[in-house]
């Protein structure tokens, strides 16, 4: 091996090591900040997910909406098969309504309730979050195209 090739090889290997370490650090950090999305049925199957921050999506069950005070709300999210009760404190987005699609972010508690700290806002009246469509398709309740 000529000297030039050798020094290039060393440089290459060295930068490869540095880059892999950097990528590893990044990926570990990434894993800590991932928020998974579940539908109600999926979530009930994964009861070991309790206590983690996650997103839950589906339709707001008809006749499930109640407010305790002006800013504490109860409703349940369904995919047509299973339901999960949600408690949320805060402001509901403009387009929140029973029977419509919704995605909430929060913690799945060990008593089976979901404490939401965010209800993700959408702007279009007919908009259905793609995750919710997927969820409904899995249970066969999706009625769109």
């Amino acid at each position: 091996m000529s000297n030039l090739v050798k020094s290039r090889l060393i440089k290459f290997l060295l930068s490869l090591i540095i880059v892999s370490i950097a990528v590893l650090i990044i990926i570990f950090n990434l894993r800590d900040n991932i928020i998974y999305f579940y539908g109600p049925t999926e979530l009930l199957k994964n009861s070991n997910k309790q206590g983690q921050i996650m997103r839950l999506g589906g339709l707001v069950s008809v006749d499930s909406f109640q407010n305790e005070t002006d800013s504490i709300f109860y409703f349940s999210i369904t995919d047509g098969e299973n339901k999960i009760d949600v408690k949320y404190e805060g402001i509901l987005p403009n387009l929140f309504a029973e029977g419509k699609g919704v995605v909430v972010e929060g913690v799945y508690m060990n008593d089976g309730r979901f404490i939401a700290n965010k209800v993700l806002a959408k702007h279009d009246e007919n908009y259905m979050p793609p995750e919710v469509i997927e969820t409904l398709k899995k249970t066969g309740k999706w009625q769109g195209e």
Partner: protein, 637 residues
């Protein structure tokens, strides 16, 4: 039946697109051999390309303005009752129209470059030929896969309308500005490929590239800033950057381009880093295409996505693939021949810039992984997930500290070997001043997080250093400005970073349910809910609340947050009411009441927002100054 007039327009506009296709084909052939078409020449063909696309773009604007619903695009994206400005901006508020705008800018850059003087004829021919291959590809895509002039046989009485969230004056100019940035890098890419083909990537090449790369960068910066500003006051979440995939898609080419402009500078000054500069040019343009692909393909669910048509996404994906394969094989083949062995001294400005290049690439990798990881798991594992914004802030913050340090020290180093301790001694007053101010800030505002303190310290150092470096007196004691563009942009970045950190630390939010007559408190301010009104506008109805902001019993301002109900298409939006003060913004949003008695109001205090925009503006102006000075100098030669 479509009207006779509409039919004529249909034929004319499609004919114009075909003319552009033919002209681009002729232009491209010059890459192999310039004897096939000695006439018409490069400039004549560039004129034809520009005029044909410009005319078809004007026709499309005209169709939107007269609301000709015989055209599908107008039918789906416009409405006769829409205000004039949104009929106008509706032209690019959709997939087909925005692609036509993209092509128009592609052709415009091609034209401007074809007209530029003092460039060898062969080099210009090759550059324009490569640019024309891309024009050909995109016009063919437009013509066959997303024709904006598709006509329908129904006599629709009225159109469906433009998404109300896009009905905003800022969004009328955000896409064109962003596109000038994205597409500007197409010319830089063409220049890089032409450099590879002619094997002339040298100081001369750098001075040709410089004005183009700087102006594209300034436009991209402005485009991102406009988008961020729009999100701040239109989306009503009180934030300006959400690490949303669409925002990341525009940030990634910006990061690569920032690295690129500095490499072009070193190349011009020292004739080093040829290969790396070429790689960055290819990378920047590819990322611009990825940005377009992510936004236009419908892969991301966001307000930016107009249509989910897999065919279109596939085309852009294929295009990116071809570009990468072509340019990297050419690079592998020719890179040995463009590299000159010019070593750099270890402690020098060049090394500093090189280090920051690596840091930028690391940040780019972080953003890329965070953006692509959810897409990959969704496609491969059918698992939906989101990457929280904390991933970006915690991973990028430590890198920013190093980055700021090298940004501060590098311009102070010479191009040849410099003694680091001498520089530090020279800068001792500067360092002591920044240290004192940071300590005072930290104690006064009870800021004890090390990362935040370090970012503020180095930003401050950078700002003071850039300001003092730009003010110099010559021997006659007359003020001379040196490197104004560079220093302005660098100081702007420092200011931006300080504002970002302090904004993140000191933002405050309060949520209330309020009835008319209530008094709400936010820090030292009292907001009295005065009244609520219904207002009818031409294209929407709105519910408008009036809040009187008082401090110590004195009226300071009136806030009028709104909820707007649009009917074409039916949508509800919240309009924030914002008071911009120099040190903080006060931001009120209300939501649709859940019961009849009260409305919910969200109040934010957002410190340093004005300063944040100011820093961004300085970066943009710095870029424009650098670009225009270089244009000027270039012509003087």
């Amino acid at each position: 039946m479509a009207g006779r007039m509409s039919l004529y327009i249909f034929y004319i506009s499609n004919f114009l697109l075909l003319i552009c296709l033919i002209a681009s084909l002729m232009q491209s052939s010059k890459i192999i051999n310039n004897k096939i078409f000695t006439k018409p020449g490069v400039i004549v063909l560039a004129y034809v390309q520009l005029i044909s696309i410009l005319l078809s773009f004007l026709i499309l604007i005209y169709l939107f303005l007269i609301s000709d619903f015989n055209f599908d695009l107008v039918y789906f994206n416009s409405h006769s009752e829409k205000p004039l400005i949104y009929k106008f901006s509706g032209v690019w508020g959709n997939h087909e129209g925005s692609m036509l705008l993209w092509i128009l800018i592609l052709v415009l850059f091609n034209f401007l470059f074809a007209l530029s003087r003092r460039i060898s004829e062969r080099f210009k021919e090759i550059t324009v030929a490569i640019q024309s291959i891309m024009i050909f590809g995109f016009v063919a895509f437009l013509y066959f896969l997303s024709n904006p002039f598709a006509i329908n046989q129904n006599n629709f009485f009225d159109g469906i309308g433009l998404n109300p969230i896009l009905q905003d004056p800022l969004l009328a100019i955000h896409p064109p500005v962003l596109y000038v940035g994205y597409v500007g890098f197409s010319l830089v890419f063409s220049l890089a490929i032409a450099g590879l083909i002619t094997k002339e990537v040298d100081q001369q090449w750098a001075s040709i590239v410089k004005p183009w790369v700087f102006s594209a960068w300034a436009f991209l910066t402005a485009g991102i800033a406009l988008g961020s500003f729009w999100a701040y006051y239109e989306l009503g979440w009180g934030g300006y950057w959400f690490w949303d995939p669409v925002e990341n898609a525009s940030l990634m080419p910006w990061i690569a381009a920032t690295a690129l402009i500095h490499c072009v500078l070193i190349l011009q000054k020292r004739n080093v880093m040829q290969s790396w500069t070429i790689i960055l040019a290819i990378l920047t343009f590819s990322l611009s295409l990825v940005g377009t692909f992510l936004v236009r393909s419908g892969i991301l669910n966001s307000v930016h996505t107009f249509a989910s048509d897999p065919g279109r996404g596939l085309f852009i994906l294929l295009f990116i693939f071809l570009i990468l394969v072509f340019s990297f094989s050419l690079f592998a083949y020719n890179s040995e021949k463009i590299n000159k062995i010019n070593s750099m001294s270890l402690v020098s400005r060049g090394t500093g810039i090189q280090v920051n290049n690596w840091l930028l690439i690391t940040i780019l990798t972080i953003v890329f992984l965070g953006t692509m990881y959810p897409l990959a798991t969704d496609l491969l594992l059918n698992k939906s997930l989101t990457v929280g914004p904390k991933y970006y802030s915690t991973t990028i913050a430590p890198i920013i500290i190093l980055f700021l340090f090298f940004m501060f020290i590098s311009p102070r180093l010479g191009w040849t070997d410099t003694k680091l301790y001498k520089i530090i001694i020279q800068l001792r007053y500067l360092i002591i001043t920044s240290l004192t101010i940071t300590l005072l800030i930290s104690l006064y505002f009870e800021l004890f997080n090390l990362t935040e303190i370090l970012i503020i310290f180095f930003s401050l150092l950078l700002v003071i250093s850039s300001v003092t470096a730009s003010i110099n007196f010559n021997k006659q004691n007359i003020l001379v400005r040196t490197n104004l563009g560079q220093n302005l942009a660098h100081a702007g970045f420092g200011i931006l970073m300080m504002a970002v950190v302090s904004n993140a630390v000191y933002s405050e939010e309060r949520i209330y349910n309020a009835k008319v007559g209530d008094n709400l408190q936010l820090q030292k301010y009292i907001f009295s809910f005065d009244k609520i009104e219904q207002v009818e506008e031409s294209n929407y109805n709105s519910l408008k609340a009036y809040f009187l902001m008082k401090k110590d019993g004195k009226l300071i301002d009136t806030f009028t947050p709104e909820i707007r109900f649009y009917s074409n298409p039916p949508t509800i939006t919240s309009e924030a009411s914002i008071l911009h003060k120099f040190f903080s913004d006060i931001y009120l949003v209300m939501n649709v009441p859940q019961d009849q008695q009260s409305i919910s109001v969200r109040m934010h205090i957002k410190p340093f927002m004005t300063i944040l925009w100011l820093g961004t503006l300085m970066i943009i102006i710095g870029g424009i100054i650098s670009a225009s000075i270089r244009f000027g100098r270039f012509d003087e030669k």
